[in-house]
């Protein structure tokens, strides 16, 4: 049955928006208050259950960032800052204000957009966000995905066996995964998974921010310390939700925690 859940991300309307010359695919699902979803390293490949859950009470707009998906990847889109500007361009096209949700690399893109003064945003949810550095020059903050054995990466990402069995993906899904990893590498290689300037800019963010992370996240070193530092960089500090039964892929392992937080923020917006 997992394949149906994977495909769920592609249900609903799909449109292509051209944002200052950049073609961007957007998947739209559900109705109600608008929630903009920004995927992580794997694109929308494993986000089906989360998106379906959010769509029960909201209109989810899942943006496919340049490099992922089938749209051409313009040559001038080379960094996470470019992705943030694409997101900003998309946000101004929406009847706001919206709840903005990002996962891992997508959360980094959201953070970069927020520090640039995102319009039309009511609140933001950063799920296992990356993008900042808290440790010293000989200590990585993030597991080296390009040097760690596959088993170590799997344990860092998932607290238990992944819902989606990676060995069972169809050829077309391996194509999608290969494109996603290619794009991720383009954006995160150096500095590795962070922007040295981001942490000091987070106090510019004017909307409420929630950070959700998995207690056994081993993609970041010392998850509690890292995400606390991330939260404390916002003024006032971001609200922190620690999910016991999840590692880095909270969106796959415990989508309920994210859905609950989004619903809370949507309800606050109505009040």
């Amino acid at each position: 049955m997992w394949r149906d859940t994977v495909r769920a991300s592609n249900d609903g309307a799909v449109s292509v928006h051209t944002l200052r010359g950049v073609p961007v695919e957007v998947h739209e699902r559900g109705s109600g208050a608008i929630v903009v979803f920004v995927h992580g390293e794997d694109g929308l490949l494993f986000s089906g259950p989360l998106i379906a859950g959010i769509a029960h009470g909201a209109s989810v707009r899942s943006i496919v960032l340049p490099g992922w998906g089938d749209e051409p990847w313009p040559a001038h889109i080379t960094g996470v800052d470019d992705l943030a500007i694409v997101l900003l361009d998309y946000l101004v096209s929406l009847p706001g204000p919206v709840v903005l949700v990002g996962v891992s690399l997508g959360a980094w893109v959201v953070a970069e957009a927020l520090v640039r003064g995102a319009a039309n945003v009511r609140a933001a949810v950063l799920v296992a966000p990356v993008g900042i550095k808290v440790r010293g020059r000989t200590d990585r903050d993030y597991l080296d995905l390009y040097a760690a054995p596959a088993g170590e990466i799997a344990r860092a990402m998932h607290a238990s066996t992944p819902v989606v069995d990676r060995t069972m993906l169809a050829a077309v899904e391996f194509d999608e995964l290969a494109r996603a990893q290619h794009a991720t590498t383009r954006y995160v290689w150096k500095p590795y998974f962070h922007d040295p300037k981001l942490r000091r800019r987070l106090d510019r963010v004017l909307v409420p921010v929630s950070i959700i992370y998995g207690a056994t996240d081993r993609f970041v070193y010392d998850a509690d310390e890292f995400y606390t530092a991330y939260a404390n960089a916002f003024v006032p500090p971001a609200r922190v939700v620690r999910v016991a039964d999840a590692a880095h892929r909270v969106d796959e392992e415990c989508p309920r925690a994210i859905i609950d937080e989004i619903q809370r923020l949507v309800a606050e917006g109505r009040a």
């Binding site: 080296d144 390009y146 040097a147 760690a148 054995p149 596959a150 990676r166 060995t167 993906l169 050829a171 391996f174 194509d175 995964l177 290969a178 494109r179 990893q181 290619h182 991720t184 590498t185 383009r186 290689w189 150096k190």
Partner: protein
């Protein structure tokens, strides 16, 4: 042009721990395994071999690799500089400079220019993209390697050929200010340029630019395909026809006085094939090749059927199989002449044989005998046969 035979050793550090005690020869093998005193002896052996090859009338080639015991020539321009002084007649091929991985192409241009002048114009400059397992040690974004490669090559060539004062370079990947390379290269307008490749797209670029093309250990079928693609591209583009001196093939070579001696030498050469273990996470990084080519490899990895070595298909091949496939040329002088002649015919001709004549624990005398036999009894016959 003369058919050229280039002596080459990877300069291995062969004193390894038992195979089960380390995961990978590349990237992660701790350098405490390297004994500097033993290392000094080995470097002496390798440079002596290069001098022997020069004295025997062969040309010579150096390469470089990083964070590995398979090749402790970690800085090929340094080796080239030593050979520029220690050899007298040999053409000196560096194959090559991994310019994607270097931060300052102008510095590469300076290194090559110095070696060219010191050697009085004997340098031939190769540019290599580098193997996937060296992406981590170089920390260059694999997605950008090709773009960086060609921009670096363009900057280097312009550095050599701009002789009327400084120029500036503000490209996508490299910025350089007041570029004015001293010394000027000895060979005008610049030394011959080479590129090794395994990919069709690089063959196209090499053909368009007229670089010498080197095919490495691909056997006769692979070499024929690459050489043909190169010739075809030049034809399609209306460029000058390909001369044999523009094509090169690298294989393992050992010449013995009799079959037993040759087989013993060949077994020592196999060390290179059999001691090249690479941890799987370094073999297939995203970006090194297009996603469409990488996707099936990802699928194989997920199912536990991925290859465990970059040369897995020849890892355990017998000497006879390697000879049959055109990856190894081994035997008495007559046998080696016959094998190379047959290979030459099967691939449609080529003008340079790059010869890995040393491997693993092979000592100086064993290698030197093979060099001597090749130079005295094989090379003259091939030169006469392939003159053109």
């Amino acid at each position: 042009m003369t058919f050229r035979s280039w002596f080459f050793t990877e300069m291995p550090y062969p004193d390894l721990p038992p195979d089960g005690e380390f995961e990978s020869m590349r990237v992660t093998l701790p350098s405490r395994v390297f004994d500097p005193v033993r290392g000094a002896e080995l470097y002496e052996r390798y440079f002596d071999l290069y001098r022997t090859a020069d004295a025997a009338g062969l040309d010579v080639m150096v390469n470089e690799h990083h964070a590995t015991a398979t090749c402790v020539d970690a800085c090929a321009p340094l080796a080239l500089a030593i050979l520029a002084r220690e050899t007298k007649h040999a053409r000196l091929l560096i194959l090559g400079n991994p310019v994607s991985n270097r931060e300052e192409p102008v510095r590469v241009a300076e290194e090559m220019a110095m070696c060219d002048v010191i050697s009085r114009g004997r340098v031939e400059v190769g540019f290599v993209r580098g193997v996937p397992q060296e992406i981590s040690p170089s920390n260059v974004n694999p997605v950008l390697m090709k773009e960086r490669f060609w921009e670096a090559v363009d900057l280097i060539v312009q550095s050599w050929t701009s002789i009327d004062g400084p120029f500036n370079w503000e490209g996508d990947h490299f910025h350089a200010r007041q570029v004015n390379v001293w010394p000027r290269v000895y060979q005008q307008p610049h030394p011959p340029l080479w590129i090794p490749t395994q990919s069709a797209s690089t063959v196209v670029e090499a053909a368009d630019r007229g670089f010498n093309l080197a095919v490495i250990l691909n056997g006769h079928d692979g070499a024929r395909r690459m050489f043909e693609a190169y010739r075809q591209r030049r034809l399609e583009q209306g460029l000058a026809p390909v001369m044999e001196h523009q094509l090169a093939y690298l294989g393992l070579v050992f010449v013995g006085e009799d079959d037993a001696q040759a087989q013993a030498g060949a077994r020592q050469l196999q060390w290179y094939l059999q001691n090249n273990k690479v941890a799987p996470q370094f073999l297939n990084p995203p970006g090194y090749q297009p996603p469409a080519l990488r996707a099936p490899i990802l699928a194989a990895e997920a199912r536990g059927t991925a290859l465990g070595s970059p040369i897995a298909d020849i890892l355990n091949a017998t000497i006879d199989e390697l000879v049959d496939r055109g990856m190894m040329f081994v035997g008495t002088p007559d046998a080696v002449i016959e094998q190379i002649t047959r290979f030459h015919e099967r691939v449609g001709g080529f003008g340079n044989l790059l010869m890995m004549m040393h491997g693993g624990h092979m000592d100086h005398d064993t290698t030197a005998r093979s060099i001597d036999l090749y130079a005295r009894e094989v090379q003259p016959v091939l030169r006469a046969a392939f003159a053109g």
